[in-house]
Every structure is written in structure tokens, then in C-alpha cells.
Amino acid sequence: MNELPGLYNDWVAIFLMMAGFYVVISQGNLVKKLVGLALFQTSVFILYISLGKVAGGHAPIYDPAIAIYSNPLPHVLILTAIVVGVATTAVGLALVVRIHEAYGSVEEDDIQAADEAESTASSSEASAEEDAKQ
């Protein structure tokens, strides 16, 4: 357990997880962020699926000749989680499409700049109104 490779599947899962997480944090492009998010979720699926493996176990299909089976439950759980992941990506992409329609860009910086320009415009409009009253 303590030698470095150890349970190498965990290392793979954690590497993917952190890679996905890093993409989410570092990228400014919304589509790339979603890719990172999908990677992040998928790494958790791998973590789950690999923990169902029982050493020397067979695929969980009943057969009198087999004594040890792998645990099928994590696989079933992940089937549900995959559906959730697909739905998340779909909703995310749909939002990106709408954002592109509304802002003409999918870059976080552009969107922020557009929002700020809008809010300063509306507040200067407000102060103009106040001035007009006085």
C-alpha cells in the first residue's frame, strides 16, 4: 500500500480530477470550462468504477462455476451519475449558446467587460436624471 504506485487507479483518477479542476479554474472560455468540468466528473466515475473491482473477481454474471464476483453496485450508481453528467453538460452548453446569442462572445473577460459597461452606463444615466431634476 505504501509503495508509490500503490493503488494506481486512484492516482489516475486523482490526476484526471485535478487536471479537470485546473481547467475549470484557469480557462476563460466557457466551452473549455465545461470540458474541464466534464473531465472532473468523469474522473469521479472512474474512481467509483475501479473501486468495484474485487481481486480475482469475475464479471457479475451468475454462473455456478464462479465463486468470486466483482461488485456491480458502483457500476449501477455510476450509470446514474453518467446520466447526471450528460445532463449537466447539456444544460451548460445550452446556456453557453444563449450567452453567445446575448453577448456575442463565450469569453469570460468579454462578458464581464460587457456587463460592467452596461452597469456603468445605467448608473451614469441615473445620475444624469438626478442632475436634470436639480
Binding site: 468540468l37 472532473f40 447526471v84 449537466t88 451548460g92 446556456l95 453557453v96 450567452i99 446575448a102
Partner: protein, 494 residues
């Protein structure tokens, strides 16, 4: 089995099935009627459940007849019945309010699908409170979250889209953290049933896997809860979502996350592990206090009233988390009580804001000038809701603040008591800003003529305002159930 035996699942499944029905019919009015009927049916089920639980104790419902720990168990104890009642009550009241508000804010061809998504969000939240299965919590959480991303993005302002996207990012990371945490627990115990987990965890609690799972779960729920440093998604999401959605989510979504936190920390892991072996009590207390003070300060400087109240929500979540962090029965009672009372006050306030937005189109501080004369009933509702937010007797807000202060004094933490009172003072400032604008400033000369909100909006608002006053005076029900639930939780672990 009669219908009564199936109540636990009915509260969840009625809105869940009503949602696709709305999509199939795809016409605004019938979809609204279906949503209304589903939410009131669910509310009825929740009332019956609470009665049943107070009389005959915890209900365990085996989904599909499969006994736990193999099958999925729906487990209704006092805490879940109590939170379920809040969620369904708010949903029922909000649905009455929704018709006019939604009609004015959402394009008519999307209304039916909007109700479908709202019902899904509601079903998910109800599901989290009823289920006794850890993986089921994740699934329901994602059902409600995905639906809420969709309905938040339907706000009129294009910034709603960006707010929804940010929420989607943070919400998904939170939910995935919860999934990882559940996976670690499953790795160590081989079970997903919460009661089973609670029984098996103490044996293996001294391993790194369980501690890591604990950390993942806490951070994941913290993201959903909008616990102080993880709250960044909340103000924008609440500010730009349609009024109905803001009122619904503000009064239910974070409350259900508090429920999940209570359930996981105190029930699954047990008080001893969560709040004594791990230093979480201190962490929660500090984060709660920082959240109270900083979010209240930010709220004071907001011009958009929806944003102001959203920041105030972050502060109120601080009170609840602080209550849990106190790690005594009074503190936990205060947290549960504040879940209830905050749902009432924020529900009332956001609904009243929705009525103002319906008449004026926006709700910034400038729009409030002179509104006390022009929309007297709506403004009066905001004032009473605001008093409850500050914690003035005889409103509901006072009761939960009172228990929180008692809890801090019980632990001998008087500096914390002072900070709690300071937070109330800040609430006084931002509520005063509203009152000042509405009653002491003349309406601008070019202000559009404004009529009082329609009755279908005023009645839900005043129902919640009435509840704020009622539960501030008659505390038997709210305090009674909350303190019993807190005793159950604290007893289960210690």
C-alpha cells in the same frame, strides 16, 4: 397498504410526475394549474407526515418494497418532516403568486416549460429531505440543481445567463465533491443507507479515507449552502433570476442544504466525530461569523434590492451555520428554527419584491422612493418582513436570534454574542434604507403611476407575513418541533 402509507413518496413523486405533464400539455394556464395542484397536494402530504411523525415516531418507507440496506429507504424523522413542511409550504404559496409574475416576466411560449422546471426543482428538494439513502441525496440534489440552473437563466436581464452558468459550475463541483465523499464512505463501509452508515462508521472513523470523505462532503454541501467563502454564485443568481424563482429558491434551496449538512454531520458521522474529533465546530463558527458580518456589510451598500436581500441571505446562512458550530442542543435548535423562520421572512420579502417588480419592472432603491403611499400593502409587508429579518419581537426572526444568543451564552462565548447582535444592527441599517426610501422620500415627479399589486400576489405575501408574526407569538409548533429534532440529532451522536 393504503394511500396514507405511501405519503413519504407521494410528497416527492407528485411534483416529479406533474413536471413532464406540464411539458406535454405545453400551454401556460393548464400548466400553472397542474403545478398549483401538485404543490398543494405535496403540502398536504407534508402536513399529514408531520402529524404522523409527532404522534408515532420516525417513518421508514421502503421504496418498491425492498427492505434497507439493499433497497432505497425513505426515512421521515422529525427533522425531515419539519424541513419538508417548509419546502412544500413555500412551494404552495409561491405557486399561487407565480401566475401574474411569471406571465409578465417570461415569454408565453416558455411558461409551461418553466413550470415543469420549477416543479422538478421542487421535487428534487423534497426528495433530499425525505430520502434516507446517501446516493439518492446526490441524485435529487442534481435534479433540483439542474432545474434551478434552467429557471434562473430565464430572468429578463441577460446577466441571468451568466449567473446561471456560474452557478452551474460551482454547483456541479459541489455536487461532484458530495459524490466523491459518498464514494469514500461506500469504500469503507459498503453501504449507502444513512442509518447503516451511521452504525458502521464509528468502527472505521479513524482512517484517512473517512476523514477525506468527510471533508469532501462538508465542502460539497458548503458550496450548495453558499457558506461564506463558497457563496459567490448566490448574489448574482438571486438577483437576476425571475422573481418567482428567487422567492422559491431563497426560501427553500439553501434551507435544504442546511438540512443536508445537519443530516450528514450530526446523523451520519455523529456529533462526536464531526464536531469534536474534527475541528469543524470551530471552522463553522468562524466561517459563520465572518459570513454574517461581511455579507451584511456588503448588503448595506447594494442599490439593487434583490441583490441586497441575496447578500442578507448569505448572512442569515451564517447564523444557521453558527448555530451548528456551537455544538450544543440550543445552538442546533436555533439553526433548525432559523431555517424555518428565514424561509418565512425571505419568502415574504422576495415575494413582495416580486410584486413591486411586477408593477415597476425593476426593484432598485431609486424605484422605492415614495412607494409607501403608492403600494401601501406591499410596502407594509416588506416592513414587517424586514423587522423579522432584524429580529424584532414579536416576529419570528426574534425567536431564532433569541435561541442563537442563548446558545452562544451557554458556551460562554460572549464575543460571539456581540457579533450576532452586530449583525442584527447591520440588518437594521439595510432594512432602514428601504423604509426611508419608501416612506420619507417623495415619489419622483416623472414616476409612472403605480397601482397596488393584484390580490393573487398580495394574498401569498400576506400569508407569509402573517406566518412571520404568528410564529413569533405562538412558538409551540416551530420551537417545539425544532428543539425535539435537535435533541434527537444531538442524542443520536452523543
Amino acid at each position: 397498504m393504503t394511500l396514507i402509507d405511501h405519503l413519504p413518496v407521494l410528497a416527492v413523486i407528485v411534483p416529479l410526475l406533474a413536471a413532464p405533464l406540464c411539458v406535454l400539455i405545453d400551454r401556460a394556464r393548464p400548466a400553472w394549474l397542474i403545478a398549483l395542484a401538485a404543490s398543494w397536494l405535496s403540502f398536504g402530504a407534508a402536513i399529514l407526515l408531520l402529524l404522523q411523525v409527532t404522534q408515532s415516531g420516525t417513518i421508514s418507507y421502503h421504496l418498491g418494497g425492498w427492505p434497507p440496506p439493499w433497497g432505497i429507504e425513505y426515512r421521515i424523522d422529525l427533522l425531515s418532516a419539519y424541513v419538508l413542511l417548509i419546502v412544500t409550504a413555500i412551494a404552495a404559496v409561491v405557486m399561487v403568486f407565480a401566475w401574474h409574475s411569471v406571465e409578465s416576466e417570461i415569454p408565453s411560449e416558455r411558461i409551461a416549460r418553466f413550470y415543469a422546471a420549477l416543479l422538478l426543482a421542487f421535487a428534487g428538494l423534497a426528495g433530499i429531505t425525505t430520502t434516507g439513502d446517501a446516493f439518492n441525496v446526490f441524485v435529487f440534489l442534481e435534479i433540483s440543481s439542474l432545474a434551478s440552473y434552467a429557471i434562473i437563466s430565464m430572468g429578463r436581464d441577460r446577466r441571468a445567463l451568466n449567473a446561471a452558468f456560474q452557478y452551474l459550475m460551482m454547483g456541479t463541483i459541489g455536487a461532484t465533491f458530495i459524490l466523491i465523499g459518498i464514494g469514500f464512505l461506500y469504500m469503507m463501509t459498503g453501504t449507502l443507507n444513512m442509518q447503516d452508515l451511521a452504525a458502521l462508521l464509528p468502527e472505521v472513523s479513524d482512517t484517512r479515507t473517512v476523514r477525506a470523505g468527510f471533508a469532501f462532503l462538508t465542502v460539497g454541501i458548503g458550496l450548495k449552502l453558499a457558506l461564506f467563502p463558497l457563496h459567490l454564485w448566490l448574489p448574482n443568481a438571486y438577483a437576476y433570476a425571475p422573481s418567482t424563482v428567487t422567492a422559491f429558491l431563497a426560501a427553500t434551496a439553501t434551507k435544504v442544504a442546511v438540512y443536508a449538512l445537519l443530516r450528514v454531520l450530526l446523523d451520519v458521522f455523529g456529533v462526536e466525530f464531526s464536531l469534536q474529533a474534527m475541528p469543524l465546530n470551530l471552522i463553522l463558527m468562524v466561517l459563520g461569523l465572518v459570513g454574517i458580518v461581511s455579507a451584511s456589510l456588503v448588503a448595506v451598500f447594494q442599490d439593487d434590492i434583490k441583490r441586497m436581500l441575496a447578500y442578507s441571505s448569505v448572512a442569515q446562512i451564517g447564523y444557521m451555520v453558527l448555530g451548528i458550530g456551537l455544538a450544543n442542543t440550543t445552538g442546533v435548535t436555533a439553526a433548525i428554527l432559523h431555517v424555518f423562520n428565514h424561509a418565512l421572512m425571505k419568502g415574504a420579502l422576495f415575494l413582495a419584491l416580486g410584486a413591486i417588480a411586477y408593477r415597476l419592472g425593476t426593484a432598485t432603491l431609486r424605484d422605492f422612493a415614495g412607494l409607501g403611499r403608492r403600494m401601501p400593502w406591499t410596502m407594509a409587508a416588506i416592513v414587517i418582513g424586514g423587522l423579522s429579518l432584524i429580529g424584532v419581537p414579536p416576529t419570528a426572526g426574534f425567536i431564532s436570534k433569541w435561541y442563537l444568543v442563548l446558545g452562544t451564552l451557554e458556551q460562554g462565548l460572549w464575543p460571539v454574542t456581540l457579533l450576532v447582535l452586530f449583525g442584527s444592527l447591520l440588518a437594521l441599517i439595510y432594512v432602514w434604507k428601504l423604509v426611508e426610501a419608501a416612506y420619507f422620500k417623495p415619489a419622483p415627479a416623472n414616476a409612472p403611476a403605480v397601482a397596488e399589486a393584484p390580490l393573487s400576489m398580495l394574498i401569498p405575501v400576506w400569508l407569509l407575513v402573517g406566518a412571520n408574526v404568528y410564529f413569533g407569538i405562538h412558538t409551540d409548533i416551530s420551537v417545539g418541533v425544532a428543539s425535539q429534532a435537535a435533541t434527537q440529532l444531538m442524542g443520536a451522536g452523543g
